[in-house]
């Protein structure tokens, strides 16, 4: 170990000499926007003024002081954060389901939160240039896909057909309904929505989002698909997409696992040989198919 000839301790080396990706940067809450019954979007500004650049699909570790930290995908526009005119706030869309998320959604504007990241892989939607693009998602799964959808819309003429197949538990749980209608009306996105359960008199489609895939209008062999949702939904969607002829390697999924560090060190997010936080969260179906079909892997 000591490779130099100097077998003597020279000077104390404190931890401060080593950059620690476990230490967060501080962000101030600009606003907490309620999107649905249990879903909220946090709009954050960096305290040091230095914007966080990210790629669509990446996540951060959000820290509520004294409570804990959770991995959350960034839901904003990757290009808007660094805009010179007036940088957009960093956006995260979260469901109020645990201690940390509860603390975050109830925080007053101005409260500081910790942010580490961005971490993980990207949707890399530009790979789909010249092809049809199919987004398949449901519920809050739209949030991690939104940056990718915004990237496609920003250069809409570089892609063929663009479809957004969106499922929701009930009509009240639909996220970004108005925005999805704008994408349909102004950006030539074929938006199809379905709900699992509908009240009496509901005029829209009822059923699982994966059922929309079979009849959706796209050319399977000239398509890329981007899927985000719970594990069983993603497996069903990927199976339906590949059954129609979309190659396994062109179906990308955003995987979810327990994460404590976001940087491949804590071990929690392992899926056999994958560290979902650094090898993912976005992975192609060819890679994860054998891992998704074994229970409790």
């Amino acid at each position: 170990m000591t490779t130099a000839g100097e077998a003597r301790v020279t000077g104390g080396t404190g931890f401060a000499h080593y950059a620690d990706p476990m230490v967060p940067r501080r962000y101030a809450i600009r606003r907490v926007r309620q999107d649905t019954r249990d879903t909220f979007t946090l709009l954050l500004d960096p305290v040091d003024g230095e914007p966080l650049t990210f790629r669509a699909g990446q996540f951060t570790m959000l820290h509520a002081f004294g409570v804990g930290e959770v991995p959350i995908s960034i839901s904003g526009d990757p290009r808007a954060v660094t805009s010179n005119a007036s940088p957009a706030p960093l956006e995260h869309t979260i469901r109020n389901v645990g201690a940390v998320t509860r603390a975050l959604v109830h925080a007053e504007p101005g409260t500081e939160v910790g942010v580490r990241g961005p971490f993980g892989t990207s949707w890399d939607v530009t790979d789909a240039t010249g092809n049809d693009v199919v987004f398949v998602t449901g519920g809050i799964g739209l949030a991690p896909l939104r940056p990718a959808i915004l990237e496609v819309i920003a250069e809409r003429d570089r892609y063929g057909k663009v479809l957004l197949l969106y499922g929701s538990r009930t009509p009240d749980d639909i996220l970004c309904g108005a925005e999805m209608r704008r994408w349909a009306d102004l950006n030539d996105v074929n938006v199809q929505m379905t709900v699992d359960n509908a009240p009496y008199g509901y005029k829209g489609k009822v059923g699982f989002v994966t059922e929309l895939i079979a009849r959706a209008g796209f050319q399977p062999r000239r398509s890329y698909a981007f899927v985000c949702g719970p594990g069983p939904m993603m497996l069903a969607a990927a199976t339906a997409l590949t059954a129609r002829g979309v190659p396994d390697a062109r179906v990308r999924l955003s995987m979810e696992r327990s994460m404590k560090c976001g940087i491949g060190l804590c071990g929690h997010c392992q899926l056999r040989e994958l560290f979902i936080c650094v090898d993912g969260p976005v992975l192609d179906f060819a890679r994860v198919k054998p891992l998704m079909t074994v229970r409790e892997l």
Binding site: T2, G5, V9, V23
Partner: protein
Amino acid sequence: MDDIRILDPADIGTLIAELRRRGYRVVGPTRRGDAIVTGEIRSVSDLPHNVGDTQGPATYRLTEREDSALFGFAAPAQSTKPVFFPANEVVWRGRRDHEQGGHFTVERDTPDASAVALLGVRSCDLRAVQIHDRVLAARDYKDAHFTARRDGTLVIAVACGEPADTCFCASMGTGPRPAATNHETGHPAYDLLLTEVVTTEVLYAEAIDEASHHFVVEIGTAAGREIADAIEAKPGTGRDQARAIEVTDAAAARQTRRIDRKSVHDVLRVSAESPRWEDVASRCLACTNCTMVCPTCFCTTVSDVSDLTGENAERHRVWDSCFSAEFSYVHGGPTRESTKARYRQWITHKLSSWEDQFGMLGCVGCGRCITWCPAGIDITEEAAALGRMSGLGSTASAAMT
């Protein structure tokens, strides 16, 4: 470096004093109650004298020796893991100011990170440190605390002459005699290597010196040589080195457990749906002992500790285990609900997916998981059973168990 020296037992005290004089915190095996643990070594009296051990599945007992051996035991109850990777440490401290609308400050700890001299580290545990170097300090993101603590470590390894029944380092290629270089990095594995030769029967009067209790010292680095020179270690010969190799060859030959490391990666790869998991889960208590004593297990979690005012908080990183229900928890429940899924994760990671991740196996053959499992579950036996059931394992794998 074919430079052989000889130390008498009394010289070990001189060595410790010299290391301390140079500013090292000397860390090595020491007796605490009825176990050998890893602790600070201030003088030779902190090393276990005349202590041996008996280890077996779910069994660990210290025994008395009469040969004055200082390293006469097998894998200590505790590996060197906590030296560079403590079980609980503060990642950062925060202070929140309520007056200023939830503004907070972050402070990093700067504890004493003075360089460590690992004295008497076994081949298995030395390999485990190399594995942690790869896992924690040679990737895109590095563990800052591990890297800081690991900086400038001096290694005085001990070749193992006393394997326990639970040891299987020979089959893993990790011991009992450590390789002089880390074959992944090409760096020297140790600065000095000691082999303890205890008193043996004297056949010829002229062989008395060779037979009495002494240490054969092999030099691994210039730094090691400097220290050997400083304590005026007597010169040795190739014959002394041959004697040292005899000690470890005999230790390797005494090991009865083994894992077939050539086939084990593929065996685990194809065994995800094996009926063996039900069998082992019926014995496994999911107590996490194996992961706590394992010298390579590196999983951690974080916990936030705040005071009553809520203004001061510490973020702790603590060892975690893939055997706990919380480990894989995402909203809705744990990904690995059953014990069989957790055992499968642990052994598959050690013996298969670790290789895919890091190009090396995650097991060094120290046998601690066997010794400290309250149910006596034996990783070599489970690997052999999976090998048999998958049809991919070497038949030799099972022979000894």
